[in-house]
Structures are given as C-alpha cells and as structure tokens.
C-alpha cells in the first residue's frame, strides 16, 4: 500500500513539473521565452550569417512641411532606420524637428495605401479593389484623352497642396500640355511670405523674412513663433542664437497671446490679451511711438508713403497712418478693447523702440485664429515705423530664386484654347485679382457648374474635406464630378470620395528638386533622391503624370523629355549650373570664405563641368547662394510707389478696379472711421477686434483655437510618436482637450479631467477638460489638428475636428477661408 501511494505521488510530481516544462518550452508563456528580440528583428537575422547589411547615410530633403530641411537617412540594408539633419544644409545645419525625426513612421506607416485601387460600390462607401498600374493608367489616360479630343480639355481640374520645385514644375507642365487653366494649388503662402498683408505694404513678391538671429527684440503678436513657424528648425536655430548667440545683448522676447503657449512660456514676458485684438494693440503701440515721436524719421521721410496725410498726383488728399492712429486708437480705447493695461502698452512701445533692431511679428499667414489682413498690416506697420526694413536684425526680403525650369516645349492649339478659358475658381479676376489660386471657391463653383462643369478632378497632396469649413458641401461638389482621382498615399477624408487612387510614394522614395529660403533671405535649391525602394506598390506622382501624358500620346507626351523624375532633376539643374552663381552646400567656414570673396568682387565658382556640379550638389544635398545684398531696395519695396506703404496703393487699385456687387461685398465689412472716406480707410491698417465681447448669456465663453505645434500642417498625422507628445503641457495626448482657467472651471462647475461638450453656435464636440492656469478667465483654448475621420489607426477617431465648430469667414483680397474664434459654452457629459 505504501509503495502505491509513493508511486502515485512520484508520478504526480513528475507529471506536474514535466507539464510545466513542456508548456514553457512550447510557448504557453510567450513572453518568458527570451526570443522576442529575435522576433522583432527576424528580418535581419536571415542575412546575419552571411554578410552584414551595408550601412550608409543618404542625403535627401524632408518634405513633411514647408521648412525644406536637408536630411541624412541612415539606410541599413534595404531599410531606413534613422533620419537626422544634414549638417551641410544651410536651413537646418544637421538639426531636425520632431516631425522630421518621425518621418520613419510616415514611411513605414502600416496604413498607407499599398497599391493603385479602383472604387467598388458607392462613393465614400470605402470599398476598393486593387488594380494594376497599367490598367489604372490606361483607363485614366483614355478618359483624359477622350475629354481632350472632345475639346473640353479645360474640364480637367487639378487640386494640389503646396508644391515646390520639380513637383510644381511637372504639374504645371502637365496642365499646360493638356490644356487646362485649372491647376488649383492650395498654396500656403507661408514660406515665401506672400501673405497679402506684406504684399499690400511692401510688394516683395519673393516674400519677406524676419532676421530673428540678429535681432535684439521680438514683439510677437500671437505669432506661434516657436510652435507654428513655416520652417521651425531654422527658426529654432535662429532663436537659439537670438538668445545666446555671439551678440553682446541677449535678445528679448515679448509674447502677446490670449493663452500661455510654448512661445509665451519661453518669452521673457507674456502679455495676455483679449482674443483677436492683437492688431488694435499694435495700433496702440504705434500711437505711443508716434505721440512720443520715437519713430525713425529718416526712414519714414525717405522710404515710406502715407505716414502723414498726403495728396496724390490728381490732387486728391488722403488721410495718413498718423491721422488714423491718433484719431482711431487713443490709448484708453486700446487698453479697454485689448485688456492690456495702459502702462504696459506704453512700456512695450518704449522698449520696442529702445531695443532696436527689433521686429514685430504677427501670425505669418496660417489660417487659424483669425489674424485678418488688417490686423497683420497694423502689426507690420510697427516695423515700418521704426525703419526696420532691409536691415540686419529686421525685416529682409528674400532674394530671387534661381530658375530651375523643365526643358522648353511649345503647346499645341488645343492646349492654347483650353488654357484661354477662365479658371474655375475665379482666381486672378475681379475680387480674386490679387491671388493666383482660390481653392476655397471650388465647392461653390463646381456645384453651380460655373463657368463650366468639371469632368475630371485630380487631387494631390490636399485634403480639403478635412480642412473645409463646410465638408458636406464639398463632398456633394465632389459627387458632381464624374471622375475623381486621388494621388494620396493615405486614405484621408478626401481620398475616400475618389474613384481611382494612384498612391504617391512618399518623400523618402522619390526624386525631388526643392526650392526654399533661409531666414536671412538666401535662396536655395535642394535635391532629394530616393533613399529606399518604395515600401509598397506606389509611384512618384510626377512620374504618374508623365506616364499619363505618355498614355495620351503626342502632343501631350512630348511635353516631357523623359519619363523619369531623375532625368528631369538633372535637366532642371542645367540652367542653375549655367548661371554660375552660388555653390553647393558646404561647411560654415567655406561659406564665410565665399562671402568674403564674392563681396570683394571675385566670381566664386569657375566654370566647373556639369557632372562635377551635379555630383557635388547631390552629395551635399543642394545648391545655394550664400551672398545676400541688403541694399537691393527695388526688390524689397516693390510697391507701386516703390516705398513702404502705410497707405496701400495696391489695395486702392484693387478696390477701384472692382465693380458693382463685388465692390460692395468687399467693402461691406470694413468700418469707416468718422471723417474718412471708406475707400481710404480700406487702404490703411484698420485693425479691428472682430467678434465683440458682448454679454452673451447662452455662449458665455470665448473660444480660442490654436494649432498643435507637433501636428501643424494637419495632414499625415498617422504617426504615433507625434500623437503621443501633442499636449504635453497639460498632460494630455490622444484626445482633444479644452484648456480652461481653474477659476472659470470652478464657476461652471467642472473639474480637471471631466468630459464636456464644447458648443459653439455652429455645432458641438466632445473634449476633456484640462485646468490650465495659462488660460485667460472666460476664454477656452481648443487645439486644432486632431479628429481625422479617416487615415490610419493612429489618427482615425483620435480626438475631434475642432474646425467643425469654428465659424469661417473669407478674407477680403484673397478670399482665403479663415477660421475665427467664436463664442462657446461648456456642458458636462460622460466620456
């Protein structure tokens, strides 16, 4: 008996441990087996035994925003494993921002569109079937060819995002060869600073830039300087030097904004201001400067127009800036409107004048937060007042970009006929005479079929359905168009309504020639080459367009000398080589030498052979002209009068040329100060607070939207690295939050972390409350950039699209949509 028991126990213990052993061995406890490392890197292990993969750093350009930074990509075998800045690139000098670093997640985004697809089922239903490139190109090519043969080449429209360099040239050339005027570029004017405010006052077609690096004082009017600049790395570098450069004086930054943003936090002084009244404050500061006669009299006499009251050649007299300021912006009134105390306005004005060179910076052209044209003009007027134009540490106008055209080509009569038709968006005519593109009008015009219906729409690099103030209207407009083609690499909101998707390769997989500027106004041309083979079955949009031209045959196909972007890059560089100016990027020491030589009259680059030039430019990442001539006033002040215009003659011409209804519409919203002609007023920086702070009992809070710095640009947000750091200052990521002042929250009865409805007259969204002492009482701050309805696992349904509840208004002059602040209220809800 004893033996039995013993044996039983023996067997029990034995089988127990053996079972555990086997379970362990065969992976019932997967994480305990020390293999996860191998799993994750399994791809590498295959070739580990033979030859280790080759490792190299390839130069390219980061094209995730308009900044134009040069990058070095660490390529390990066939995969990209790290992106860093290109130390030779003058824009970023080896540095890179969060977004640039995150490019790897853009490249290897598992939710990218993996090959060409055709729609199955209804539009927007989301059913797709993969097709081959040949079939897709043949079908689309046929359609295009038929349309052209019918003589309706103008019925093709192309909507693109901001494009530069080669990509821009190819789309331009494609539309030119095909014969349609309707290349509508959702062009952000930021890099070139073509914002109408500057255009009206300074002309400067190439755009202007602020010399942050060498300035002593920055008066920042809700500028998003450190968060939302068009070239953030360049700006950061300049900011570092502004603070702790080799100058004697540490630069001082004063930031004026309703919320304590990162710029506000980093500033020496944060001035909270009632939302939307920055322009008024600028005028208040101007009035102090004028009354105390602290302005730069020499500059004002020599290089400005419209400071004092003046008389034109016809003898008509017009009010000047001085009159406007003194009459309309007395200090008490400004203090009341802006909420900034009188004394502070005076001390700001004195400081600004005292610490010259200094710059007054407004929001340079982004479309959130409504710093309207007049407000921006008011801010820019401060720079004129202190004569800060074309000066080290002041406002510089960009030097002209060199030519990098495609080889010449002559369009056929069909094309000429098509091109002579009016543009569908109305840009360049009447109310839109000052702008080249007016994508905002697209929905309306397509729905009205005015002036003619669109048959085929190509969409590339733009996501209007997300950004539009009226997405439903835009969708119904898209539904009017028989064929919608998207080149998007991700399934964004707009792409969902397409018929055919021809996915674009992303920037690390294709050729590009990019043009940009440094913050010192130097032009540069950078070269991007594919650093890895396309991850999925995608193609470069430029090459797709060329292939489409190829399918259509002559004469359209003859517009392109080659079907390969690579050849076009090389061809485009020939004129640059021939110009014999500038040089390939080099170390900073080399540049100094170049500058010295050139300024003493030496021609720097002797005629080296093109091949060497090409190799140099490719190896170093690009070409630039390090020499900048600040005395080129014709370029800097290219207004009708050739002067800095406090009274804009461009505006006057614009309004005078308008007729009838258009004129009334344009002038409708502009207030007319007492004793001043309305037309005169419309040409001056008539800053206006916009929405008034009346006692609205229903919507008792002011809603102040702002762009999340990390997600600015709003597209391609399917990058968890970026989503994960979006709202660090309030410890919130991965959802929309609303910043509320603790006292205000107390009043409303909500607590940190509560879920609330943010309700504006236009609609409501859900957000999580974040108590933030940097929010003004009765002003709530909402971050823009989240809430995509489509696009990938890390962006779809993450947060809410704040644009849905913002009121939108079209700007005079440009017709650009501006999302305004509005009134809102908060009501508690469940998660």
């Amino acid at each position: 008996m004893k033996k039995d028991i013993l044996r039983r126990d023996f067997i029990k213990i034995l089988s127990g441990t053996t079972t555990f052993g086997l379970a362990y061995r065969y992976g019932l406890f997967p994480h305990l087996i020390s293999g996860p490392v191998r799993d994750a890197l399994a791809l590498e292990n295959d070739d580990i035994s033979l030859r280790p993969p080759e490792e190299k750093w390839e130069t390219s350009i980061c094209q995730q925003c308009q900044g134009g930074c040069g990058i070095l990509v660490r390529v390990y075998g066939d995969r990209a494993v790290k992106i860093d800045g290109n130390p030779l690139h003058p824009i970023n000098r080896g540095r890179l921002c969060a977004r640039g670093q995150s490019g790897l997640q853009y490249l290897y985004d598992p939710d990218r569109i993996k090959g060409p697809m055709a729609r199955e089922g209804a539009r927007g239903e989301g059913k797709w079937k993969p097709i081959s490139w040949d079939q897709a190109l043949a079908e689309l090519g046929d359609k295009l060819k038929t349309l052209r043969n019918q003589g309706k080449s103008h019925a093709l429209a192309m909507l693109t995002g901001p494009q530069r360099g080669l990509a821009k040239n190819v789309s331009d050339r494609f539309m030119e060869a095909y014969g349609s005027p309707n290349l509508i570029r959702n062009q952000s004017d930021r890099p070139s600073g073509k914002t109408p405010a500057f255009h009206l006052m300074q002309g400067s077609d190439a755009g202007i830039t602020y010399d942050i690096e060498d300035t002593n004082y920055i008066l920042s009017f809700n500028s998003g300087l450190l968060e939302d600049h068009w070239s953030s790395v360049q700006l950061s570098r300049a900011y570092g030097k502004f603070r702790r450069g080799n100058k004697d004086e540490r630069g001082k930054l004063v930031h004026i904004e309703p919320r304590l943003s990162v710029t506000g936090a980093k500033a020496d002084q944060w001035v909270p201001i009632n939302p939307g009244t920055e322009g008024v404050l600028a005028m208040g500061i101007a009035s102090v400067i004028i009354i105390e006669r602290r302005y730069d009299e020499e500059f004002i006499d020599e290089r400005t127009l419209g400071f004092e009251d003046w008389t034109d050649e016809k003898g008509a007299s017009h009010p000047g800036f001085k009159t406007l300021v003194i009459q309309e912006y007395p200090l008490e009134k400004v203090a009341k409107v802006t909420g900034v105390p009188r004394d502070m306005i005076m001390s700001l004005a004195r400081e600004f004048v005292h610490h010259q060179p200094g710059v007054a910076i407004g929001n340079d052209g982004e479309w959130i937060g409504n710093q309207g044209i007049y407000n921006r003009m008011a801010i820019h007027a401060l720079n004129g007042l202190v004569g800060n134009i074309q000066k080290k540490g002041g406002i510089l106008s960009n030097a002209r970009l060199p030519e990098i055209p495609l080889p010449p080509f002559s369009p056929d009569p069909v094309s000429a006929k098509g091109r002579s038709m009016p543009r569908i968006d109305g840009a360049g005519r009447s109310r839109y005479s000052l702008v080249q593109d007016a994508p905002e009008n697209l929905a309306e015009q397509i729905l009205k079929k005015q002036p003619y219906p669109i048959e085929i729409l190509l969409i590339h690099g733009a996501n209007p359905v997300y950004e539009s103030p009226e997405p439903d209207r835009l969708v119904s407009a898209l539904n009017q168009i028989p064929t919608v083609v998207s080149f998007s690499s991700s399934m964004d909101e707009t792409t969902r309504y397409a018929d055919i998707i021809l996915p674009d390769s992303i920037y690390l997989e294709k050729w590009q020639l990019d043009t940009s500027y440094t913050l010192k106004g130097n032009p540069l041309v950078s070269v991007a080459k594919p650093v890895v083979a396309p991850t999925y079955d995608t193609r470069d949009t430029s090459e797709i367009l060329i292939a489409l031209a190829g399918v259509m045959g002559k004469p359209v196909s003859s517009a392109f000398p080659s079907a390969k972007s690579e050849d076009l890059v090389k061809a485009s560089l020939h004129p640059l080589h021939a110009s014999a100016s500038g040089e390939a990027f080099g170390a900073q020491l080399e540049e100094l030498w170049t500058k010295l030589l050139e300024q003493s009259g030496w021609k720097v680059r002797s005629q080296e052979p093109f091949d060497k030039f090409l190799a140099d430019v490719q190896e170093r990442g690009g070409w630039w002209d390090p020499v900048y001539y600040p005395w080129e006033w014709e370029r800097a002040l290219s207004t009708p009068s050739g002067k800095f215009e406090f009274y804009s003659l461009t505006a006057r011409k614009y309004f005078s040329d308008l007729k009838g209804m258009d004129k009334d519409l344009a002038l409708q919203k502009i207030p007319s100060p007492v004793g001043m002609d309305k037309l005169d007023a419309a040409c001056l920086p008539l800053a206006d607070p916009g929405v008034s702070k009346e006692n609205d009992t229903l919507y008792n809070l002011e809603l102040n939207p702002y762009v999340i710095p990390i997600l600015s640009g709003l597209n391609q947000t399917n990058q968890p690295w970026l989503q994960d750091i979006s709202g660090f200052h309030v410890y919130q990521e991965w959802h929309t939050w609303v910043e509320v002042n603790p006292e205000t929250a107390d009043k409303i009865g909500i607590q940190n972390g509560d879920w609330v409805w943010v309700e504006s007259p236009k609609g409501k969204i859900k957000a999580q409350t974040r108590l933030f002492k940097g929010a003004m009482p009765d002003v709530i701050n909402l971050p823009v950039g989240l809430g995509h309805a489509s696009g990938g696992r890390w962006t779809t349904g993450i947060g809410e699209n704040v644009l849905k509840i913002l009121l939108a208004e079209k700007e005079p002059f440009s017709g650009k949509v501006h999302f305004q602040r509005s009134r809102a209220r908060l009501t508690k809800t469940n998660a």
Binding site: K2, I5, Y24, L28, F29, P30, H31, L32, V730, Y731
Partner: protein, 465 residues
Amino acid sequence: MDLKKAFEHDEKTLLKPILESNRNYYITVCLLSLVVAWGFFAYFHQLRNGLGVTGLNRPVYWGFYITNFVFFIGISHAGTLISAILRIAQAEWRRAITRSAEVITVMVIFFGVASILMDLGRPDRIMNIIKFGRFESPLLWDVTSITIYLTASTVYLFLPLIPDIALMRDKANKRKWLYTVLALGWTGTPRQFHRLETAISVMAILVIPVAVSVHTVVSFVFAMTIQPMWHSAIFGPYFVVGAIYSGIAALIIAMALIRWVYHLEDYLKDIHFNNLGTLLFVMTLLWSYFTFSEYLTTFYGAEPSHMQVFWAKFNGEFRFEFWGMILCCLVIPGIFLSNRKLRTIKGCVFASAAITIGMWLERFIIVVPTLANPRLPYDRGVYHPSWVELSLLAGCFAFFILLYVLFTKFFPIVSIWEIQEGRKHAVAEVAGRVRSYLPDAYNIKNDVDVETKTFTNAETFIGNT
C-alpha cells in the same frame, strides 16, 4: 486518576476535528478551492500577457502586490513572535493558543513571498537573485531574512508538533505513514521531552530577533530610498509594531473561528481573548504613537515634496483610505478594547477584523501615495487595481484560509501535549514561581528546594494555601 480522564477528554475533543469531518467542511473547502483556482487563472493570465493586465502604471509602479507582501509578512508576526514572547514570559495562558498562532506565521509567509513573485515582471528570472544577488539592495536583505524567518518558524512550528504527531500516529487510523514519517520516532521518553523543551526554548529566543529583523528589513525596502514619506528612520520599529498589531488581530480572528467551528469553547476561553485583547490595546496605543510621530515629523518639517504626499493622504485622493485606516486602527479598537465591558470575544473579534482591514489600508497608504506623487510633476498618479489584482488578493486570502483549514484537518490546532503538560505540571510550577517572587521572610519554607520539588508537591501545596 482525574488527570487521566482529563487527558482522555483533551485528546478526544482536540482530535475530533481531524477524525471527523462534516458537510460544512467539504463545502468550505470547495468554495475556497474555487476562489483559489480563480486566483491561479488570474495569475496565469498575468504570466501570459505581462504585468500590463494589472492597474499599475507610471509612476505608481507598486500597488496591491507589494501592499499584500508587507501585509502578509506583517501578519506572520502573529504566531512565532507572540508565541515566543509568551513562552519566554512563561505566560501560562499561552498553551491553548500558540499552535494556531504559529501556523498563521508559516502559512502566511508563503503568501508574502508569493506576492513578491507575482509582482515580478520576469518571474522566470528569479534565479538571478541567487546568481547575481547584490547585498547592497534591501530586497536581498529581505530575501535573506525572510528565508531565515521561514526556516526558523517552520522549525518552531514543527518542534512542538512532534509529540502530537506521535499521538496521531498512535491514535488515528488514517495517514499513518505521514505521521510516522513526521513523528521522527518520538516515543515520549523524559529524555526526549527534555531535549524537546530545550530546543523549543532555544528556538523561542532565536526567533524573536529574526522576526523583528524581518519586518525591519521589509520597512527598509521603503526607508532606504529617498522618496518622500518613505525615507524615514522610524519605519523599522513602526513596521514591527504594525506587524505585531496586525498579527495579534489575525490571531484573535483565527482563534474565534476555531473555537466556533470546532466547539473548543473549553480550550479557547474568554480569558484568552481578554488577555489578547488587552495586549492588542497596548499595541493600538503603540501603533498610534508611531503613526502620530511619523506624520507629525513630516507635517512639522513641511518639505514640499513630502507635504504633497501628506496632503494626498490627508485630504487628497487617498483620504478615504487614510481616514479609513484611522477609523479601523485607532477609533474602533480604541473603543472596543479599552473598555472591559466591550472587550468580550465578539468585541475583540470585531476590533480585530477592523484592525486587519485597517492595517491592510495602512500598508496601501504607505506604498501607493508616495509613488502617486513623485517629485517631478505628473498628472496621472492614479491607481485603480484591475480584476487580476483583486482576484489574486482574494486568491491569496482564500488559499491561506484553505491551507489553514487543511492544517486543522491534519494536525491538532490546539497543542494537546502542552495542555496536558499544563494540567500536569504548570499549576504547581506557577505556584512555586509565585512563591519565589515573594519576600523570603514569613514565606512558607519547605526543606526541599522549591524549584525542583514543587512539581510533585503541587496538590499538597495548593491545599496548604
């Protein structure tokens, strides 16, 4: 003659739980086994998926498991320490309760150790502690002292068990082989008794410093860091006091249950509860004193990072736990134990239950708020235990009770031979002892030496007084 009858009565009553089992016993075992099985399932789930299934996060890296660890190790002070102290103090009322106390110790240490194992991210690498152990780490001090404590306690439990096991071997019909092995050839000769008693006294003396060291070292896990409200020199004694406090409470509950379930009213009497209740009241005061000192020093020093934790406990997110602890560990015991009328068995058990809960909360209040309020600002220092942690907590308690119940079914939970020894010798011994405390003048003087003779003269001696 009477003595023999009494002995038979003892054996009959005290062996009854082992020899006879009713339906309630099986139901209890089944229910407890179910909870234990659920606990095992929860742990398996955690083992498969990683610690992410718990409610732990950053910065609250430690939660229920470490709380349980400290709590269980604290409870373990019930037995060995108390029984050792009582033995050394020659408190005669100990005889009925030492065994049940010692069992608590041995059983509960396993759960303390298991809690640590549950807390490990890589339990499969546990051998690293032996292979690469660094004695600079307080965790290794813990490993060492707990191992010693476990060994000592097991020996200390086992030694007094031997005569009873031998009794089982001779009297019981089942599991004879087991008792035979465990009895180690005990025949009950005076020589064996002498050796046994010597061994027990040596162990009793040895085990006290070990027990004190164990909980001191457990406190060092916290006190050696520089974290706010952990870095405290008072933590060692504070933890020891808390441990004894919770240990006695656990013991009272266990005794009451045993008394109730096995009808041992005759052995576990009011006086036992009253005595333990008094002891518990002393511990209440002692614990309160330490708590007061601990919090007062923090408050008075008013260092910002410390105060952040302090306020989180006082009126912040941990206020319920904190005031719950004060209620359970100070107010309720204070009321029930200080008052003779309320210090009944029921009163003691109620106070003990409150203390057990309160002491668990105290451990929680020590572990979590400090982590939830780190020095650098974080917003999300919140901790909500997940179902896994709750299941494992339930599983641990159920498993502990189950083992305890099973123990009572294998071995007498009241030491038979000690009771018998008490009947036989103790009365006389105490009388002799008492007499030896008194002044010699006018004391009744016998010719024989008191200490050796009293044993035999007990009855006459009592008669004389």
